[in-house]
């Protein structure tokens, strides 16, 4: 059974700020969706999970030649207001403790 403290932890992992009212709604909603999804536990599987392929065999993966290609860098950077001389401006990862 999922609880509000689980939602708190998931929200932090997912980098989402949620208010108290939404946490309560999400606890109910996610609980109800997981209740539905839990039927997967009863599904018979011919293949042993442990030996099932981790990569979906249906997915094609025709890689192109490993050569550099233009990625329209200028256009991509223009999509952010914070770029400066080709760099994205971000907050410092480490802050000094006072």
């Amino acid at each position: 059974m999922i609880e509000e403290k689980d939602i708190d932890r998931l929200a932090l992992l997912a980098r989402l700020k949620l208010d108290a009212a939404e946490k309560a709604v999400l606890t109910k909603d996610i609980g109800s969706i997981l209740g539905y999804v839990d039927q997967l536990a009863a599904a018979p599987l011919a293949t042993d999970l442990a030996t099932a392929p981790a990569i979906d065999p249906l997915t094609l993966n025709n890689l192109r030649a490993d050569e550099p290609v233009s990625v329209a860098e200028e256009g991509l950077l223009q999509t952010k207001a914070t770029d400066k001389a080709g760099y994205l401006k971000v907050k410092a990862i480490f802050a000094e403790r006072s």
Binding site: K17, V37, Q39, L49, D56, L60, N62, A72, K80, T82
Partner: protein
């Protein structure tokens, strides 16, 4: 200007008019622009109409005046779901977080369609990041169903479906991760195609669940869907999952098709009117010699649960990029983590937040095996079911949706009820198979009902053959 000649046009009829000199591309674009101006304030199908459309049409007319041969989609005005990039235009995915995001490049499908002479009319509304079945999850307001404006058009490509159904575009593009082209097509009474996984490049499609996403057309005729697919399909180096279709053996005549019906799968929760229309469609086909066969797809009953593990898992991963640093809107917090929390909490809508949380849960340590890994194994088992079924039959038929279009707001507070709208459409995404929805009747209130055809991989030609055959009955 006589505009009756443009009403509910098909690509073939348009090309006939254009090639014969009876009509100009500018006239056709003007026809749609006038209709959009009149109807869009009510329907909210388009988020933006492009000023460039008229100039693009003038260019098409200039080419014709110079005697250049018409291309496959010469002058065909197309509405584009707003999660497909058009260079220089906003691509918002109907999210606040991308509300002002300008595309830096063209999606491969956009480039190919433009190369075939198509004209882009505007960008259409969707459920945020294509997450939804009603287009109510848009940050820019819901789209209404043109058949009954108190009802949803379906989703997530609801804006595209409404645009075609209301004759505000000749054709439209959508994306289909769990039914997002076929379900709105069914709710709006038009044709919607989800191609084989790998048939159409997703380069330039804002990703939802990459193992399931496909771009597909929404059209008024089966022939239109086939024409648009022919232009979009084929290997693209920018999407490593694409391939050129393998050579196929010669197909049998449509009257000799064996068509499988997995009744055990869709018997529950089916509205009586949908069942009746479906049964009538089967009878009509059987009367022409098509052999109808009962088939079993034992894993299909787990398809929706499987989908609601894999899709949010992939979505939570794909949407991690919207952190305010690289794309879109940014909110400032007290430190870097605060920036992320504020930006994503503020920029992502309610359903998006719900699915990110769900995806994070099913991928987290301790739950990964029970949910994600098991779902991937079931996805494989479902593909095996279909493979086995296709040794007995050439195509599989189901209703597209269990119900007709529901009322706006009716399912908004119950996510599980909303998810059930995808019950019959998700298997084609989970197995990568091509599927088409076409109109097969109406309920007592005049709401359209959709018939879904599913074919073996790369055999869209069978979908088109049987759908065309059905249309002519």
């Amino acid at each position: 200007m006589k505009t009756e000649k443009f009403a509910n046009l098909t690509i073939k009829r348009w090309l006939d008019q254009f090639v014969s000199g009876e009509a100009k591309a500018v006239e056709l674009v003007d026809y749609y622009l006038a209709r959009i101006k009149e109807a869009n304030p009510r329907l909210n199908a388009y988020l933006e109409v492009f000023d460039s459309a008229r100039a693009d049409a003038a260019e098409v007319d200039r080419r014709r005046a110079q005697g250049e041969a018409p291309r496959a989609l010469e002058g065909v005005p197309i509405a584009v779901k707003d999660n497909i990039l058009i260079k220089g235009k906003i691509a918002s995915a109907s999210s606040k977080i991308l509300a002002n995001h300008v595309a830096a490049y063209d999606a491969t499908v956009v480039r190919r369609l433009r190369g075939a002479g198509a004209i882009f009319l505007g960008r259409t509304n969707l459920d945020e990041f294509a997450m939804g079945s009603s287009t109510e999850n848009s940050a820019f307001g819901p789209t209404k169903n043109p058949i009954d404006e108190t009802r949803v058009p379906g989703g997530s490509s609801g804006g595209s479906a409404a645009a075609v159904a209301a004759d505000l575009a000749l054709v439209a593009l959508g994306s289909d991760t769990g039914g997002s082209v076929r379900q709105p097509a069914a709710f709006c009474g038009i044709v919607g195609l989800k191609p084989t996984y790998g048939q159409v490049s997703r380069s330039g499609l804002i990703a939802l669940a990459s193992s399931l996403d496909q771009i597909g057309p929404l059209t008024r005729s089966v022939d239109d869907a086939a024409r648009v697919l022919a232009v979009m399909a084929g290997r693209d180096e920018a999407d490593s999952t694409t391939a050129n279709p393998p050579a196929l053996p010669e197909d049998k005549p449509v009257e000799k098709y064996r068509v499988g019906v997995p009744r055990h799968f869709f018997s529950e929760g089916l509205e009586p009117a949908v069942k009746e229309s479906f049964d009538q469609a089967i009878e009509k086909l059987a009367a022409t010699g098509v052999k109808i066969v009962d088939i079993e797809l034992p894993t299909a009953k787990y398809a929706l649960a499987t989908y609601y593990v894999i899709m949010p898992a992939e979505a939570s991963s794909n949407l991690a990029r919207y952190d305010g640093l690289r794309y879109g809107a940014a909110q400032s917090g007290s430190e870097l983590l605060g920036d992320y929390l504020e930006t994503r909490g503020e920029g992502c809508g309610r359903e998006t937040r719900r699915r990110i949380i769900l995806g994070t849960y099913v991928l987290s340590a301790g739950y990964y095996d029970a949910y994600y890994h098991r779902a991937v194994a079931l996805k494989r088992a479902l593909a095996d079911d279909f493979k086995k079924a296709f040794t007995q039959v050439d195509l599989i038929l189901t209703p597209t949706t269990p119900t007709t279009a529901f009322k706006l707001g009716e399912r908004a507070s119950d996510p599980l009820q909303m998810y059930l709208a995808d019950l019959f459409t998700v298997p084609a995404n989970l197995t990568g198979l091509p599927a088409i929805s076409l109109p097969c009747g109406q309920d007592a209130a005049g709401l359209p009902i959709g018939l879904q055809l599913i074919a073996p991989a790369w055999q869209e030609n069978r979908l088109f053959k049987l759908a065309t055959h059905y249309d002519h009955l």
